[in-house]
């Protein structure tokens, strides 16, 4: 409960962003409430005049015309508050979406956690959307729930204090009893909702596991289980709901009873001629309106609960600490060769796993350096350090022997490098868009050249739509090798000074594999290249090999040098070739 309140407070703070619209919305609501009172006065006059003062339609027509005016005004107010309510939330929605997205981009791929992308996407779409009723309905209703009944009382009391008293007593009793029954009911209600969701999840579970069930020959039994579980949940849930529905029954009870009481008490006094009909009718018209805002509040209470659940997720993302960014003005001339040297790098992930443990290395300019090591040795982390996705907790990386990497602005540094991961991402759009990612203004000729260099031109032109073929999640599927080559074309077009790539493992068919390797060779020419090598052939062709183990470089040199040294690399190569019985002998 305390937690929900904290989220409430934070949401209200966000609400300040559209304070104007919120207040305006509340104002419209209050105005509409006042008009209801005026309408009641007019209607009571008309009925009273006709039924008791023998007036004709012609006599009361001015009053009726006035009523028509009130109707139109009320309609306009109701329309206005709908539009204003939306405007109140629109600004917040846009602001939050923009802030979450830019925050995620600042966090970078390592900290933002790419695997939960679907979850993050729904937080940003449905989650942010779920806040709308909070700002557009719940908050204004909170204000109206006290303002409108007060306004009604202000008119009812002077007219008839007995009815006023009935309303004054019943009014606060409702929230009181609602709280009494409701606190418990709310808890039950929440639990039941949870259960309902669980039951839905169970069904999804069974459908998703259908193949597994079939393998075990259990799929047919599950029909009964599905029915049984649904029935079990129904029984327990209904037991809870019976209590939960009491909340609204309490509201109904007091509302209906108060109206009946007002009516009956007036009836008795009218019979005694101690109160005029006009007053009685006027109060009777207002009595239901007195309870309406409360009814509205209980409707929007659910909106509050889902808004708070959504807000929790949103704030969780926004609260992830952003890495410090460089403010320095160091610049790097474009087209210059790049060398890197690292000294005593230390890095541990939040989970406590140490990835770099005093790593020293040098990446020579214009050469291909291969990183070799077991999974978890620190290869990917080191690549992420070079890419600026991960900032070591200590140690330094120096570019070209003089500029510390952390003194360069990230965007500046990225301009000099290209990255081809193991499974490159094709974005939703055309193949041309994808290749132009880093250079949106590239000419047709440049585009084709890049594709040709990457051995991608032939297959792209063979597609019916050529470069215009839509790819990505909603587009045409390309094979693993084709995706690799599009990614390489992207890198060719960028013409980077530093190329970082994570070699694809054996997931390419034979033909693609040969083309991809050739394309990488071409791209590597004359540039500084860091490649995470998975194949011996790649390491062999590299100018320089770094063997990593437990977050450190344990051996460095060319293929020949390392073989001659007879160290870990030699043993590895022997094992690679399949003679790990005779590891040392083959060296």
């Amino acid at each position: 409960m305390a937690k929900a309140q904290r989220v409430d407070q934070r949401l209200m703070q966000e609400g300040r962003r559209t304070r104007g619209a919120l207040y305006f919305g509340i104002g419209l609501g209050v105005a509409a409430g006042l008009l209801i009172i005026v309408q009641a006065i007019l209607l009571a006059r008309v009925v009273n005049d006709v039924a008791f003062l023998d007036k004709t339609l012609h006599d009361v027509m001015p009053l009726l015309w006035a009523m028509l005016g009130i109707f139109l005004l009320r309609a306009a107010l109701s329309w206005g508050s709908e539009v204003v309510a939306f405007q109140a939330s629109a600004k917040i929605k846009t602001y939050l979406r923009e802030r979450i997205f830019s925050h995620l981009l600042t966090l970078g791929p390592v900290h933002a956690g790419g695997e939960r992308s679907a979850d993050i996407a729904s937080t940003m779409i449905e989650g942010v959307e779920a806040l709308e009723p909070y700002f557009s309905r719940y908050l204004p209703q909170m204000a109206l729930v006290s303002l409108i009944p007060l306004a009604i009382l202000a008119f009812v009391f002077p007219a008839d204090w007995i009815s006023g008293l009935i309303l004054v007593i019943a009014g606060p009793l409702i929230p009181f009893f609602m709280v009494l029954v409701g606190y418990k009911a709310e808890a039950i209600n929440q639990r039941q909702w949870q259960k309902l969701l669980l039951m839905s999840a169970h069904f999804l579970d069974v459908v998703q596991g259908l193949t597994t069930l079939k393998i075990f020959g259990r799929a047919k039994d599950e029909i009964e289980i599905v029915a049984r579980i649904s029935d079990d949940y129904r029984r327990t849930t209904m037991a809870g709901l019976k209590v939960a529905f009491m909340t609204s029954a309490v509201l109904e009870f007091f509302a209906s009873l108060s109206i009946a009481l007002v009516a009956v008490s007036f009836g008795a006094r009218l019979l005694n001629n101690s109160v005029p009909f006009y007053t009685a009718f006027f109060v009777l018209l207002l009595a239901p309106e007195f309870f309406n805002p409360l009814r509205g509040l209980s409707t929007h209470y659910h909106a509050r609960m889902s808004a708070i659940a959504a807000a929790k997720r949103i704030f969780e993302i926004l609260d992830l600490p952003a890495p410090a960014s460089a403010a320095s003005r160091e610049t790097l001339a474009p087209g210059a060769q790049i060398s890197l040297s690292c000294h005593d790098l230390h890095f541990a992930y939040e989970t406590g796993r140490v990835a770099l443990d005093g790593l020293d290395c040098a990446i020579p300019a214009g050469k291909v350096t291969a990183l070799v090591g077991r999974s978890g040795a620190g290869k990917s982390t080191l690549a992420n350090v070079f890419l600026g996705f991960v900032t070591p907790q200590s140690g330094e990386i120096v570019v070209n022997g003089q500029i510390p990497l952390n003194a360069l602005e990230r965007e500046q540094w990225w301009r000099h490098l290209a990255w081809v991961p193991q499974n490159p991402r094709l974005f939703h759009g055309s193949i041309a868009d994808n290749i132009r990612l880093g250079k949106p203004d590239a000419t047709e000729q440049e585009l084709r050249d890049a594709a040709r260099q990457a051995y991608a031109l032939e297959f792209i032109e063979a597609l019916p739509q050529g470069f215009g073929t839509m790819v990505g999640d909603l587009g045409q599927g390309l094979s693993g090798g084709q995706i690799q080559r599009v990614a390489l074309a992207r890198a060719f077009l960028k013409n980077p000074d530093l190329l970082i790539l994570d070699e694809a493992t054996a997931n390419l068919d034979m033909e693609s594999e040969a083309l991809v390797l050739d394309a990488i060779d071409r791209l590597a020419k004359g540039r500084t290249v860091v490649v995470i090598a998975h194949r011996l052939a790649t390491a062999e062709r590299a100018d320089h090999i770094l063997v990593l183990d437990e977050g450190r470089v344990v051996e460095a040199g060319s293929h020949q040098e390392l073989l001659a040294a007879g160290g870990p690399y030699t043993r590895l190569v022997a094992a690679y070739r399949g003679d790990h019985g005779r590891t040392l002998a083959s060296a």
């Binding site: 039924a51 009946a260 009777l284 077991r374 054996a506 094992a575 690679y576």
Partner: protein, 589 residues
Amino acid sequence: MGELWRLLKLFAPYRGWILSGALLALLTILSNFGLLALSGWFLASAAVAGLGGIATQNLFNFFTPAAGVRGFATVRVVSRYLERIVTHEATFRLLSRLRSWFYARLEPLAPAGLQGYRAGDILSRIVADIDTLNNFYLRVFTPFLVAGLAALIMAGFFALFSWTVGLTLLLFLAVAGLALPLLTERLGAKLGREMTNINADLRVQLVDGMQGMGEILTYNAGPVVRAHAAALNDQLIQRQGRMSVITGWGSAGMGLLTNLGMWCIVILAIPLVVHGHLSGPELPMLALGSLAAFEAIAALPLAFQFLGQTREAARRIFAVADQPLPFADAPGPAPQPRRLDLRLTDVHLRYADSARPALDGVDLEVAQGSRVAVLGVTGAGKSSLVNLLLRFYDYQEGRVQFGGHELRDYPGDNLRRYFAVVSQRSYLFHSTVRDNLLVAKGDATEDELWEALAVAQLDEFVRAQPAGLDTIVGEGGVKLSGGQGRRVAIARAILKNAPWLILDEPTEGLDPVTEMEFLRDLQAVMAGRTVLYITHRLIGLEAMDRIYVLEDGRVLESGDYATLLRRGGQFTRFATFRGAFEALSAPQS
């Protein structure tokens, strides 16, 4: 509307619940109408009697209408409460019925018939569709039925006093309840579709942004992608803004029509009062009653929204349920196999939606008791081989002999008894460890479960949990690591105790250390069983009697590990440093 009829027919067994829920809803609305109409009449009558002096005062029957007012108030409270309970009870019953009906339809189709539905969230959308269908009763059927009946009854009541007044009420109810929601629905339809599309685009943009963030950043495309997402958001907000104008019209129109209805009725009734066709107290009765009458149609705008959704959902659900069986299952009796040898001769398998055959003339042999591996890249046809063996998909050409009989002659459920499968796709149910194990052997004793867990090396972990076997795994429970999940699959395989063991990339996605341990522990399960090991990496292949290298649905080469390595063919392409590290750290045999 055909879909909705079908839905109603499906619900037929719960007629009683459905109708009593609706009846109570009707009673709730009518009692409110009664409460206000009677109160209006009662006050005015009492006033008339009061003005008439002592004689009329004494003649006036105070107690019947006063009791009526209190009665209507009580009925309203009680019927409202009961209505909610009965309709929810009915809703749950219908949901249960829908689920078991749908599941019974789905089961024979899986997995071949659901192939198109497996990817992404489509499966969860189907399940969400079922939940949507569930709204049909509570949010569509009941509101329409109740609104219709209530409108007729209330208008009929007014017609007792004046035909024109009754008709006027009916007319206004119809316009506000049917015409207005239909109009706003029509006005908003295009916007709604646009919003759905923009939402989908935005989602793609965001998922792209998350999954391709590294590339986006290093290509300095961050600002572009952000601008694109912002533009989509603006488009969305702009459509929503226009939609809010339309919904604004809708709610303003509803209020206006309610008031106008009352206004017209008052204008019609006043001359009747003046000319003595109606008594004075009947005027406030009609005025208050007409205002209360509009409660009957208050739920209709929402019902129209749900109507569209429900029809869409029903269409999709029936489309899934009505699919023809992908192939006929053998009727039985099941053939009696002798030795459980497998022999594939020139087998071709092509999936319905694919242009390229998945298996394109495969010859392969697995003798009972031997260990055979199938090696290939993604898409080479390895999984199709498993699908074929488990009779999840039919083969079009060639012969598959299992135990001396054609595979097709085995009924699927009978055939699958011979196979235990450990795969990365082995599904873990979000339930207890016990339930997850009982899937493999429903009548397993407590001891058997622990034994299986021990072989799978998971017993210590489960024992350490406070709830033991009743520990919930997955969401809302203890999260199992990838390795532990795979171990549950091993335990299941042990419980199933089948003569054949299919390992379908069993270590995919595990870290190297876990993988080594996992493969070591698999040995215990492999002992005494025929093993078919599907993989795309060299690890664990030394222990195999024969390895088939598969590419593009064909066998490229086959032989044992040493032979294939010596030959230096395609087999060696699968060598990686990771494999070498694993070989180095493996215990020397």
